[in-house]
Symmetry: D2
Subunit: 222 residues, 4 copies
């Protein structure tokens, strides 16, 4: 996946479902084309199918279980993601934590289907641990920045820099996303300057009155 | 929902996804119309959207989280189910167990959206407990029958009879489904004769070479 | 167990471990004897053994797993509780939630060892559900009162009254404890007047400078 | 902790509780003294207190939660382990899996109390991930060997060798234990020859008619 990546997590926000999911993805597709920056969308499970069928921007699941197809009620397999046209999945988001064994299983299951794994982590040590599982991306979400409205540029950015360094020491091929504290194009620029390959963000796009305007700002300093 | 109900759980079976989900639901719709028996389908999350848009038989989710819309990555809300046209959801399936507090939260969230809750349980006591939460259905899956290929008629049927009695003592309005040991129309008839309002089944339909033939047999003794 | 019961949960408070656990239990034993009121103590797992060996007041575990003895690393069985001299266990505390199937398993495992089950719940519906499992006690912890410092007498006490009524409709033998909002003897009196058989409380005793004085106040209006 | 380490997990076996825990630990202490080999014991939570007080061999918990002391009912803190005299804890045993964030939290909590962390893992990738968290030990339990009665010498030993190599590439200071497939002194010798610093085992000692004889055999080839 070309860098940098702007990955928008629609969570279960009312403002990110159904028609709104289509509107945000429409804006993302337009701005990605205009700017040449890769913008991915991670909608609810239910919107995966329609978004994959109507858009060309990369669509991610918000979670995947590392199971083979079979007797797994209420779970979501990598196999079903590939079938529907998704390009990958978040794994171990702070709102959907997994055991270490299950994270590894999910990364392996995604890779067996040629899908991209984005493993979310909460600090430097867990970022290094995630890198040892060889996912394409590790997304660091420092708890003190999640949903705080505090920009990563104003918080201590050292946690990002050190995480990049630890991740690359363990696995030079794993890319890092800044996973919290992103509101503006200035934040994205800082994230890239700190050595990360993009950002994972949610509310600042999804809950915006004009998500397209926010997306246009996010790519403006790249 | 009119009784009896034949509810087919497609789980994460390869034979129950994508095109196969459409084929099984097409057969279900035809046989429901022919026979007058209600046949519901519970596909993977990803197939919820296309099945709800292409079919009129009742479509259920396999699991739902009792959350309001919001910052819940990798979860599925009752609100999103209603938006997509599902009629209800399984809750607490043996392959997706929940805490008691979360079962209650899911049942409340479904009912707030006018959706049908089918709470799965493993024995008589937990069936009675589930009934106290006032869901529309309790589906009893005796562990010794799950995926066993053993017909409920050959196993001791007393657990079903006693569960019906305990459920109705706690909540006379809650209907009961026989949730394991169903292969044939004879099994469905026995389930109904034992006092249940239908069946919840999976592999005998989903993994059949001709799911339509199995469905036609299932409704044949009603 | 004679009513009313004052059950003190020492949680993992620093002020409730080791020597402090001994001091609190010493005070409880003295005041129980003076007042004739039953006072139980639920210490950390580690303090179960010494407290059971040094005191005669009823000692409860804070959690139990419904397993038979066997290959269960990091779990705690009813069998081991009986062996050490505990009289019962909390089950499904709000800080240690269990699946419905596991709550039922834990209640059955405790009763097979002649131990007392105290199942914690969060509202009226889950209290009724817990009662269907036939534990000796259901302890209602309304989330809005937990650790709030708000007395149950000042909050709306109707949730307690309605829970008692629902619990007894399902199972007349199950006793109810008021599980949050208890600071003083006045609160205990209100709890009993609302129809409950006692109280489950924690910080107001454990974190008190003089736990004995608090305990003496708690039993003073009975 | 001096190498090699023989760490005996008593699990929740009936044959490893109460008096039997004392007998096994008595034998361990004697044989450790005779042979100069370090033998550790991981009893149930309830036996931690009496074993720590009666014996000098290192006593480990089977699980620890990475919490500070506080409102954590039914959990076990590193602080309480230190208080009782334990030297460390298993973390993330295959029978008590944790999220990645919680494994990291438990390792940090143990180290803050100067206690030894033994993180259990299921394959090479998760072993490398665990090493990134900098615990003193990683114990590899290949699922195909757990409780199988198959000796690691007869199974493919390459998984152990590759895990040691991956662990040391990530963190040269982390020691590795062979965590499954150990029955005899010959197995222990093979484990050490494969580059590990000892073994983690359970049933072959705990369920033996004469645990002392098994322990004496285990240290016999070192």
């Amino acid at each position: 996946m070309p860098s940098p990546l702007i990955l928008v997590n629609l969570k279960s926000y009312k403002e990110g479902m159904g028609n709104r999911a289509h509107q945000i993805t429409t804006a993302a597709q337009l701005i990605a084309k205009e700017s040449g920056v890769t913008i991915g969308i991670a909608p609810t499970y239910i919107d995966l199918h329609p978004l994959c069928h109507h858009f060309t921007v990369p669509i991610f699941a918000q979670h995947v279980d590392g199971y083979e197809p079979g007797a797994h009620t209420g779970h979501i397999t990598a196999d079903s993601l590939r079938l529907t046209g998704a390009v990958g999945s978040l794994v171990n988001h702070s709102e959907r934590r997994l055991t270490l064994a299950d994270i590894e299983g999910a990364v392996r299951a995604l890779q067996a289907q040629k899908l991209v794994a984005v493993v979310c982590t909460n600090n430097e040590m867990t970022s290094a641990a995630a890198a040892a599982l060889a996912p394409e991306y590790v997304a660091i979400e420092p708890p003190e920045l999640i949903g705080s409205g505090v920009s990563v540029s104003k918080a201590n950015p050292e946690i990002i820099r050190r995480s990049v360094s630890l991740v690359h020491a363990v696995n030079p091929k794993t890319k890092v996303l800044t996973g919290a504290g992103i509101q503006t194009g200035e934040c994205v620029k800082i994230a890239v300057d700190l050595g990360t390959d993009g950002v994972l963000l949610a509310s600042s796009v999804v809950k915006a009155q004009d998500p397209g305007a926010v997306l246009r700002d996010l790519v403006s300093k790249l």
